[in-house]
């Protein structure tokens, strides 16, 4: 990642954190607790981006058989899980304040739980295979299959079952943007910051895994 991006990220992420606390809360009835919206929603959506990266890299691995794509896919899944867990924990805290319970198996809570299990199984699968090529090709196939569930679990389930989770908050059912004013500005800058942060962690993690592999071969 270009060096200057890190400074841009520093400035904008700081601005988002400060603005999220200073500007009026995004949801007037909930008040200040709704400020977590600026971090909870981007974390959840970036996990989808991360699983998309895993899908892309898995297809690239099966096409080229280059091991670097396998490591990139694994890094994407690890980060996707991290963002899922951040979304789940921040969501549980938010739910306690907004609904009255940390956890009640609301459709959105159930679907992210299943998503974590599905991608957790990817890591379990990898750790069970010693042969590098076998591990790479099997986990690539698994990552492609796993992604089939993502649109269903993330975008469809909360809309077809009655839920306490707000729906159509960002994009309306007709595809129109719902956020307005400062809420929209802070939210979208936060989304871009989360995306840059993901990409930074992703490129670092992919490189670390390749270096570890090289060192292990030298021993």
């Amino acid at each position: 990642m270009p060096y200057i991006m890190k400074y841009i990220l520093l400035i904008f992420m700081s601005a988002v954190i400060i603005a999220a606390w200073i500007v009026e809360p995004p949801q007037s009835q909930l008040g200040s607790v709704s400020r977590i919206f600026y971090f909870h929603v981007p974390a959840a959506l970036i996990s989808v981006l991360a699983f998309g990266f895993a899908l892309y890299n898995s297809i690239a691995y099966l096409k080229t058989n280059e091991i670097k794509y396998d490591f990139r896919s694994a890094s994407s899944v690890e980060l996707g899980l991290m963002f899922c867990i951040l979304a789940t924990v921040s969501g549980a805290v938010f739910a306690k304040a907004a609904w009255g319970a940390y956890w009640n198996w609301d459709p959105r809570q159930t679907s992210i739980f299943i998503l974590i299990l599905i991608y957790g199984a990817y890591l379990a699968l990898r750790s069970a295979l010693d042969n590098e090529e076998r591990r790479a090709s099997l986990s690539a196939v698994y990552a492609i299959l796993a992604f089939v569930t993502v649109p269903f679990l993330v975008f469809i389930v909360p809309r077809i079952y009655p839920s306490l989770h707000p729906e159509d908050t960002i994009v309306g059912s007709g595809g129109e943007m719902q956020l307005t004013g400062m809420v929209a500005v802070i939210f979208w800058i936060s989304m871009v910051c989360f995306a840059i942060m993901f990409y930074w962690l992703y490129s670092l993690q992919s490189r670390i895994e390749l270096i570890v592999r090289k060192r292990l071969k030298e021993i």
């Binding site: 500007v23 009026e24 809360p25 995004p26 949801q27 007037s28 009835q29 909930l30 709704s34 919206f37 907004a98 609904w99 009255g100 319970a101 009640n104 198996w105 609301d106 459709p107 159930t110 679907s111 299943i114 492609i144 299959l145 089939v148 569930t149 269903f152 679990l153 389930v157 079952y161 009655p162 839920s163 306490l164 989770h165 707000p166 729906e167 159509d168 908050t169 719902q178 956020l179 307005t180 004013g181 400062m182 809420v183 929209a184 500005v185 939210f187």
Partner: protein, 134 residues
């Protein structure tokens, strides 16, 4: 040719996997049972509905909160008594209310309520009716 067959097999596999995911998750995805099931069940269940007429009353002798929920799809009506304490905040403004409890003697007795807030994330301006529309 072999490659083409492989891609076809892969697409079929993905379609089948997607279909299984779609159908098998179905019922397990929601903890909420409909009102008709809640009446027959003797277990603790969760029901979800809208507050009828925005109306609720507190029984002065017992301090219990009484209100009626309407189910979105069936328009079915369920009388609820909440025994779990004071009325939750935002109760009247809630889009939907979840009651956790059991159906006993013609009424749903709940000891925990969850409330859903409207999904408008548009700041204070929106509430006052002059969103700047940026």
């Amino acid at each position: 040719m072999v490659k083409k067959v492989r891609i076809i097999v892969a697409v079929i596999l993905i379609a089948v996997f997607g279909y299984i995911a779609w159908t098998s998750f179905g019922e397990q995805m929601t903890p909420y049972v409909d009102f008709a099931q809640a009446r027959q069940s003797h277990k603790t269940v969760q029901v979800i509905g809208q507050l009828v007429n925005g109306h609720s009353e507190i029984d002065p002798s017992t301090g219990e909160l009484k209100f009626t929920l309407r189910e979105e799809n069936t328009q079915d009506i369920l009388n609820v008594i909440y025994t779990g304490g004071p009325k939750p905040g935002n109760f009247e403004q809630a889009d939907k209310i979840v009651a956790i409890g059991r159906y006993e003697n013609g009424v749903f007795v709940s000891n925990q309520l969850l409330v859903k807030c409207p999904s408008k994330y548009q700041g204070m301006d929106y509430e006052e009716g002059h969103g700047d529309g940026v």
